[in-house]
Amino acid sequence: MSLSLFQAMVRMATPILFAALGGCLCERVGVINIGLEGIMLTAAFFGVLVTYVTGVPLLGFLGGLASGVAWGYVIALLTVRFYGNQIVVGTGVNVFGLGLSAFLSQKIWGSRGASEAVQGFESIWVPYLGEQTFFVYLGFILVFALQFFLFVTPWGLRLRAVGENPQAADTAGINVFRYKTLGVVVGSAIASLGGLFLSLGHLRFFAWGMTSGRGFIGLAAMIFGKWTPVGCLLASLLFGLADALQMRLQALGILPSQVILLIPYLVTILVLSGFVGRATPPARYEPYKKE
């Protein structure tokens, strides 16, 4: 693998990694977050919008992050507090994210397809990894921070227990609702970083549907990574490689571009059909009702 392909792999893996880590945290507390795609898209949009209005990318970053936190609270409220169906709520988030960004984009920039260009984050050069925005490095740091949090700290232990057997956690004196909400909110916020990477770090404008399934590929990476942060990283790198190869092949122009664009999705299907049979989720995806 050439160095430039390696660097492209790392770059393309980053949004998938954020989605996978966010999804992982949600699933650890027993909530399937189907809405990752919508969360990422919403964050990408608000990141660009706030930057457009203020001219300060950092504020855009915070705005996008806030939208992730907000989605997290909404999902937690609906699925944890009011026992809503997780698939329905998540699908709602996706549809809403697509519609909202298109509508506001039309209102603000007069086009539902793309926004005007905004200022983004500067790259930072690191040996081997090359010129990357700070999102890439933040992703790596988050992997190890979350791995430590989940498996070495008492709060991580409780978080895992709450997802897998809420009743047992409850009788052990743990506030099940609080930990579930925490997992969903932080998980959604992490996923929103993936959207911000795409719009503020990578393209520097907002394009409708720009996440193009990366939220779902993130879910696949999480499953392939067996619901651990380090596993998510490895799986994301594999999917990132598929994405990087796809771009490389397109540049060569040997196959029809439609076929080449399929590669990341084909890899997803192949990986999941080959491995998902052996993967058991760590949690029960049903609302916990106290008697």
Partner: protein, 508 residues
């Protein structure tokens, strides 16, 4: 000194009075049995003490001082620990993680693993347990999981332990080990409330026993003044007969023959199983659980394909017949795990009563519709016939007691007059009255000339009902005994000591 006193505790659920002015005194360092049929209010009472339910009225005193327990958290803080019937463990966490959950000793922001190990090591000394702390709960047998649950309660510093039907899920060996542990804890000054409906265990363990019936306290007795007859009468409200009169029944011809049946893993491989069952007899299969009994039953009912050998039913080779064909031929099956194989908990009684028979003529109208009217009247008739306690046939099966659920299974299996009944652990987890009812049902089937294959881990049950008993050990039939043979001989065979030592004849 009185560790725990309950005065006039009442708890209602809607119109049902689950606990009606219950008084209870538990002395420090005693093992106090709480005995009663299913639905007598034992679990509700203990849930009130543990803070899972809030009583409507009544008072609770700990060490002479009144306490108000509103959550399990309060109970734990006051030194009360509870081992639930359905264990409260997180399957994919390790043993030690489950033990410390919610009470993690901390060093900085990390769990202090060294302190955890030290503390649990101390508990190992107190209880005599020895577990691999890093093993996942999901990989452990139920008996060991329960040990983890006990450790968890002790880790939280409980002085008063409540165990809610702890033996319901255990094998006889595990029960013996549990009782030994509880005696050990008592010797260290712990106070234990032991909830059960099994008289044998109460006699083996308890110092005093309190009996509940239909939400009311019937009385408290020192165990020395109690007999099984007295306690059973207090529980059930009438005399209970422990002897099952076995009438002489003329045995018919051979109905079922197994010839050198063997199987492959998964599960315990069967090694050359051969035996006959005749109509009009109950053939008991005794043995410690996990010695191939489940696999044998799966072969008989068509859920497992044998590697070699043959199964003949009424002279016909059914080795490779489907379960459906076997049902048609007249083989009925009462499965050991009724929730997994016998019923669908969220279906109504009537749906459960025709499961598997829904295409039979009386239940069908034309080609594609069920004859709901016929099914419902069939269900009502079975509810009457089998004395199933239930308001009507539309309630979900989940709301029934274990005994009534099992009656639904048996009613369905016997409905089409099978000639062979394969009954696995038919009374496991059932209370005294339901057990008595089901055992009589098996004897009635025998009287009608049916053959019954009775697989049970309860040796008393096997000996009380069977005409002949085969003992299984590690996938083999290791011997045949008359049910009157003494327990020692059974014990030898069940422990895998050859039948030459036990001094009995070989089977087949």
């Amino acid at each position: 000194m009185i560790a725990l006193a309950v005065r006039g505790l009442t708890k209602r659920f809607g119109d049902i009075v689950a606990n009606d002015h219950i008084d209870l005194d538990v002395a420090q360092g005693e093992i106090h049995g709480l005995l009663g049929e299913n639905g007598a209010g034992k679990s509700v009472l203990s849930s009130c003490i543990y803070g899972l339910y809030r009583p409507d009225s009544g008072r609770i005193f700990l060490w002479g001082k009144e306490v108000h327990i509103t959550s399990p958290f309060d109970a734990i803080r006051l030194g009360i620990g509870m081992v639930h019937q359905h264990l409260m463990l997180v399957p994919h966490l390790s043993v030690w993680e489950n033990i410390v959950l919610g009470r993690e000793p901390r060093r900085g922001i990390q769990v202090d693993r060294k302190k955890v190990l030290r503390d649990i090591e101390k508990l190992f000394e107190e209880t005599g347990f020895q577990l691999d702390l890093s093993e996942e709960i999901a990989n452990l047998p139920v008996g060991v999981r329960q040990q983890v649950e006990i450790l968890k309660v002790l880790f939280r510093g409980a002085d008063i332990l409540i165990l809610d039907e702890p033996t319901a899920v255990l094998t006889p060996q595990e029960v013996d080990q549990l009782l030994a542990t509880l005696r050990r804890l008592k010797a260290q000054g712990k106070t234990i409330i032991f909830i059960s409906h099994k008289l044998k265990e109460v006699f083996a363990l308890c110092d005093r026993v309190t009996v509940l019936r239909r939400g009311k306290k019937v009385g408290t007795l020192p165990i020395g003044e109690a007999t099984p007859e007295i306690l059973a009468e207090m529980m059930v409200g009438r005399r209970v007969f422990f002897e099952f009169p076995k009438e002489r029944v003329e045995k018919g011809g051979v109905l079922l023959t197994l010839r050198e049946v063997s199987t492959n893993p998964p599960g315990v491989p069967l090694k050359g199983i051969s035996f006959d069952v005749r109509s009009g007899e109950i053939l008991g299969i005794a043995g410690v659980e996990g010695n191939g009994q489940s696999e044998l039953v799966e072969v008989l009912v068509g859920l497992r394909r044998p590697k070699g050998g043959a199964v003949l039913f009424q002279g016909k080779d059914i080795t490779h017949s489907s379960p459906k064909e076997r049902i048609r031929l007249g083989i009925a099956h009462v499965p050991e795990d009724r929730h997994r194989l016998g019923v669908i908990l969220d279906f109504s009684i009537w749906e459960n009563l025709v499961l598997g028979f829904e295409t039979e003529p009386p239940f069908r109208k034309g080609w594609i519709t069920l004859n709901l009217q016929a099914i419902r009247s069939f269900a009502r008739q079975k509810i009457r016939e089998f004395e199933i306690t239930v308001p009507h046939e539309n309630v979900p099966l989940r709301t029934l007691s274990g005994g009534n659920q099992q009656k639904v299974v048996v009613a369905r299996e016997l409905a089409f007059e099978p000639s062979l009944l394969v009954a696995c652990q038919p009374t496991r987890g059932l209370d005294v009255a339901a057990t008595e009812y089901l055992r009589n049902l098996l004897l009635a089937a025998r009287r009608k000339g049916k053959a019954v294959l009775l697989i049970s881990a309860d040796l008393d049950e096997i000996r009380a009902l069977s005409d002949r008993v085969l003992v299984m050990y590690e996938g083999k039939i290791v011997g045949e005994l008359a049910p009157e043979s003494d327990e020692y001989q059974f014990g030898l065979l069940m422990g895998g000591k050859g039948f030459d030592e036990a001094g009995v004849a070989s089977s087949s």
